[in-house]
């Protein structure tokens, strides 16, 4: 019943993109320019025009997706965006005639490739991580898990109140020195080496046998609770990590697209200005 963006409409946009690439390659092979292959030939201008129009159209997705309630399917647009975007690799490369240099023209090409490669990671992320994310959460929502962690903290504080200072200090550490999120590297690693709860758990383990007999049962209960909290924290951190992986490529894709548009306009302008 569900039709994902990669398989949308029996992959009609993939077929369209393949046809476009094949036609372009065939034309490139059979077309013999007077001088050599470059953007200035008849074929070069044609491919350049197609490529530029494609880029403007692909960029339009950003506007399109915000036109809520219009009569279209966004997943169809995304499907077309993905496959036609990938076809730019062939179209734009053949447009260059493999002439590269340290100039604005190659800059536009390089920016475009960065956009496409980041988009490629996006496809990978979108097809791989959603499922892992569901498996990781095991049917609970993020809010459920955070609420559970809150409950555990509250319970730990209650249990720890009558316990010796060294034990209750660890509970305070677990409650107050646990962070979720943080720096980009920490988010993307999905781990926190200085996690208050994990440290408290490790330090609490030997204490179970060291504390006064009357406290050992409560301390053991704390150990179980904090252990459970650590497990939940791992789930949350993994969740945040996966969400970040699904979002981060856009931080490259979008700004680079803006840069590409500017470079592309300069490229077009300079080509015609210095004709």
């Amino acid at each position: 019943m569900h039709d994902g963006f990669l398989t949308y409409g029996k992959m009609k946009f993939l077929k369209l993109a393949v046809v476009l690439c094949v036609v372009t390659i065939v034309a490139y092979i059979f077309y013999e320019p007077i001088d050599e292959h470059n953007g200035g030939t008849w074929l070069g201008y044609t491919l350049g025009t197609i490529g530029a129009l494609l880029i403007f159209w692909l960029t339009w997705l950003g506007i399109r997706k915000r036109r809520y309630g219009a009569n279209f399917s966004l997943s169809a647009w995304v499907s077309a965006h993905v496959y036609l975007g990938l076809s730019l690799i062939v179209i734009a490369t053949l447009h260059t005639g493999f002439q590269f240099g340290w100039n604005v023209h190659t800059l536009a090409y390089a920016l475009m490739m960065i956009v496409i490669i980041s988009g490629g990671f996006g496809i990978y992320a979108y097809s791989r991580y959603p499922k892992i994310m569901s498996e990781n959460r095991r049917g609970s929502s993020l809010n459920d898990i955070l609420a559970q962690i809150g409950d555990i903290d509250r319970e730990c504080r209650q249990i720890a109140a009558p316990l010796p200072d060294n034990v209750s200090a660890l509970v305070v550490q677990s409650c107050e020195q646990t962070q979720l999120g943080g720096s980009i590297t920490r988010i993307l690693s999905g781990k926190d080496n200085r996690c208050g709860a994990t440290a408290a758990f490790e330090q609490l383990r030997p204490l179970v046998s060291e504390v006064d007999q009357q406290y050992s049962q409560a301390t053991r209960k704390l150990l179980i609770l904090i252990g459970k909290k650590c497990g939940l924290l791992t789930t949350v951190r993994r969740d945040i990590q996966l969400k970040a992986l699904m979002d981060i490529w856009l931080r490259v894709h979008i700004p680079m697209t803006v840069a590409l548009l500017i470079a592309l306009l300069i490229h077009i302008f300079s080509v015609f200005y210095y004709w």
Partner: protein
């Protein structure tokens, strides 16, 4: 010698005020007596800024005093002004303690000993003047109150709410938001409250939001403490405040002391009244809430009418012009004549009293149709019922062959199947010639069925026959079905009830009339769901055909109704009708194949089991997200908010998940919408395509939100207007498209209104949540399509 008045009106509520104004306008010598120092004490005591309704909307106001929907303060201000302007002779602080005498010579004794003489008396004292008090030692403590103006006024207090009615529950739950609240219930459960409030209180107690003392009575009160008598003994509960909501009752002692008789000894009984509101004491009239009419507008009309009656003017009821207008298309026939004709011609409607029938007709519509006019089309999702007053119509029962028609004659009715099953129309109906039809909306029809047993019986009998004919044996003559219909019985089941148990003997076939069922079988010691069967299908024919014990268990997924058909009658029909036998055999084989497929793929059955457990069985259209495609961008929520006044009606993340199939919190457009069951403004409707939506007449009472078992309705303030796309894009003014999808901000002067999914019925592109999903993870499906094993197998 005391003054002699033509009419003395006791109580200055809506009805009394209206009576006073009429008397003043007519120049009658009158006096309006009010116990307190202000008019209309009941409304005066309403919660501050309470929005007062003017239902029934359609009924015209017939009074010299004006009244329209608005907040309490405005209404009271207008009335005070009008009392002044219209020279109504109102006497404040005049509590009547006794009424004696007879028509032409009544004596009203006031507190303090003053007496008033009047020819006629209108008693319009309502009920709220007689609030039940705690009536225990110490109840004069200033912390004891019997009303709650604004729950938000109190914070961080310990509050004990005494009472188990709707008002008590609503107060307790509202207060619990920022106070520690306990509720005291005299009984062991909350009976006789609105179902929404029952859910509300049960959940609040279970979640620990508030504490409840069951089987508890108030023993005594002292400042800062209430002592309760509980089954275990006495317990003292410290509190800053006690709010007692014990209801009000007719001040029966006083009313009876005036000589007025009541209809019975029941606590809720009303005074005996004539059609003109005259009590058992001639010349003494009772109007308003005490007469059983708690709606403000109706009460005001009565005040007007009663004074007209007293002055000897026999006026027609206020709804007369409405009915005249309704019957206008019938060219000059008098209202009474039309009403009589309809009741004579249509047996279904003949069981109502004259008053009931007038109200029924105000809600209904008269249609004059010509030959070949289409009344409704197959698959329309409308749910009104039509009665044929004159002429006849044809039902086109076969979509492939328009010539296959069943004629319905004068006196019969149609459209009831949509009402019963909550599903699409099963046939197209066309008029045969010039005919007159009465169309009655769902709500009025349900009221009829619930209040008039005779009508329910007529409807049920006809419906059974038609359902059998439509769903089981469409091409069979009526006579041949007689045995089956005669032995058929309607049976109701609650969600989870087993209709058929595996291994039982087979002695019946069932036709599902409303709701839906799952078929499951024990496979390897585990109950595996084999299929999902919605209403309009029959079930249990396999074992009958095989002459074997039941091969599977059949359970209701939601509250459902079936028609139980006797096996012998069914077998005989099959023996006489080889075509029918073949059809049933074909369907039987399809089901066998489907069951075998599931047995090989038990996980598909598990998905059905999961979805049915989420109540999808009663849905007509449900949003499902494939989490393996969902990138958690929340564009569905953003699209929803952007297309619905800035408030998202869907919560993507909330809701249960089975493997990667997620059921987000979003309206399922139930076949029998729970939200519709108790909407005082009648603001919830079903569009022809099946969308259940709330219109602008919503008063924000929250009943629908409380009644929805899926939590998909929220009360929200309208969101602020957003800047345009370009000014956001270029100049960074916010919030931008898709941002701030749940503002929840209280806007000054605005009222919160119920917001729910309307399936984007007015939006060209269809459901925005689906069209805005970038990866195709969100789909909206009809359960009968999705819950088929073959489709699930394809979905993988």
């Amino acid at each position: 010698m005391a003054d002699q008045y033509e009419v003395a009106i006791v109580g200055s509520g809506p009805s009394g005020l209206s009576a006073g104004a009429r008397a003043a306008e007519k120049g009658m010598k009158h006096i309006l007596l009010e116990t307190t120092d202000h008019a209309s004490d009941t409304i005066y005591k309403f919660q501050k800024k309470k929005f007062v309704m003017a239902t029934p909307d359609i009924m015209p106001l017939r009074s010299d005093v004006s009244f329209e929907v608005g907040v309490r303060e405005d209404i009271l201000e207008t009335w005070d002004k009008e009392i002044e302007e219209q020279s109504i002779n109102i006497s404040y602080k005049s509590e009547v303690t006794a009424i004696t005498g007879e028509k032409g010579n009544f004596t009203l004794t006031l507190k303090g000993g003053r007496t008033i003489n009047a020819n006629h008396v209108v008693l319009s004292i309502g009920m709220q003047g007689n609030i039940r008090k705690l009536d225990v030692d110490g109840d004069d403590w200033e912390g004891v109150q019997y009303q709650l103006d604004d729950p938000e006024e109190y914070e961080d207090e310990q509050i004990v709410v005494v009472g188990a009615g709707d008002a008590a529950i609503e107060n307790a739950v509202a207060l619990a938001a920022q106070n520690k609240v306990a509720i005291v219930n005299r009984k062991g459960e909350f009976a006789r409250v609105k179902s929404g409030n029952l859910t509300l209180i049960t959940e609040s107690i279970e979640s620990g939001l508030l504490e409840c003392y069951f089987n508890a009575n108030t023993a005594r009160v002292s400042p800062g403490e209430i002592v309760l008598k509980v089954p275990e003994g006495e317990t003292a509960v410290p509190c800053n405040r006690i709010i007692a909501r014990l209801g009000a009752m007719a001040p029966r002692g006083f009313v009876e002391s005036c000589g007025i008789k009541f209809t019975s000894d029941d606590r809720s009984a009303l005074p005996e009244l004539s059609e003109k509101y005259e009590s058992s004491v001639p010349g003494l009239y009772v109007v308003g809430a005490l007469a059983g009419y708690p709606l403000i507008k109706l009460a005001m009309n009565q005040g007007y009418e009663v004074v007209e009656t007293i002055s000897g003017n026999d006026i027609a009821p206020a709804d007369e012009p409405l009915l005249e207008e309704k019957f206008a298309s019938l060219e000059g026939r008098a209202v009474n004549e039309v009403l009589q004709t309809i009741q004579e011609n249509v047996p279904l409607l003949s069981h109502m009293s004259a008053l009931q029938f007038r109200e029924f007709m105000i809600d209904s519509t008269i249609h004059r149709v010509k030959a070949d006019d289409v009344i409704f089309l197959r698959n329309d999702y409308t749910n009104s019922v039509y009665s044929i007053v004159e002429g006849s119509v044809s039902a086109l029962i076969n979509p492939d062959d328009p010539s296959e028609r069943v004629t319905l004659k004068k006196g019969s009715f149609f459209g009831e199947m949509g009402l019963i099953a909550g599903r699409r129309r099963t046939a197209t109906i066309m008029a045969n010639g010039d005919s007159i039809l009465v169309e009655t909306p769902r709500r009025a029809m349900l009221r009829l069925i619930n209040s008039v047993p005779g009508a329910k019986k007529v409807l049920d009998t006809a419906a059974i026959y038609r359902q059998i004919q439509t769903h089981l044996a469409p091409n069979i003559e009526k006579e041949l079905l007689k045995d089956i219909v005669d032995t058929a019985q309607v049976e109701s089941l609650s969600a989870g009830d087993a209709l058929i148990k595996q291994g039982d003997d087979a002695d019946h076939v069932f036709l599902i009339r409303s709701g839906s069922f799952t078929v499951s079988s024990l496979i390897g010691g585990r109950d595996v769901v084999l299929s999902y069967i919605p209403s309009g299908n029959y079930i249990g024919e396999m074992a009958l055909l095989n002459e074997a014990p039941r091969s599977a268990t059949v359970k209701a997924t939601v509250a459902s109704e079936v028609i139980r058909i006797d096996a012998a009658a069914f077998r005989e029909l099959l023996a006489n009708e080889p075509t029918l036998r073949r059809e049933i055999e074909d369907k039987f084989q399809d089901r066998m194949v489907e069951n075998m497929e599931t047995e090989e793929r038990p996980e598909a059955g598990d998905v059905i089991d999961f979805l049915v457990g989420q109540g999808v069985g009663e849905a007509s259209d449900v949003l499902l997200i494939d989490e393996s495609l969902c990138v958690r961008c929340d564009n569905c929520e953003k699209a929803c908010a952007e297309t619905h006044g800035g408030i998202s009606r869907l919560n993507r993340e909330a809701g249960p998940t089975y493997e990667t199939l997620h059921v987000p919190t979003s309206c399922r457009h139930c076949e029998h919408p729970h939200c519709m069951s108790d909407c005082p403004a009648d603001a919830i409707h079903r569009a022809p395509d099946g969308e259940v939506f709330i219109d602008d007449t919503c008063i924000g009472c929250g009943n629908c939100a409380g009644n929805c078992p899926y939590g998909v309705i929220q009360l929200a303030y309208p969101a602020k207007e957003k800047p345009g796309l370009l000014s956001w894009l270029l100049f960074g003014s916010g919030p931008g498209p898709g941002q701030d999808k749940n503002p929840g901000e209280k806007v000054a002067g605005a009222r919160s209104m119920a917001a729910k999914c309307d399936m984007c019925k007015d939006i060209e592109g269809g459901a925005s949540c689906v069209s805005a999903c970038p990866t195709g993870a969100a789909i909206r499906v009809k359960p009968e399509e999705f819950l088929s094993i073959t489709n699930l197998a394809k979905a993988g």
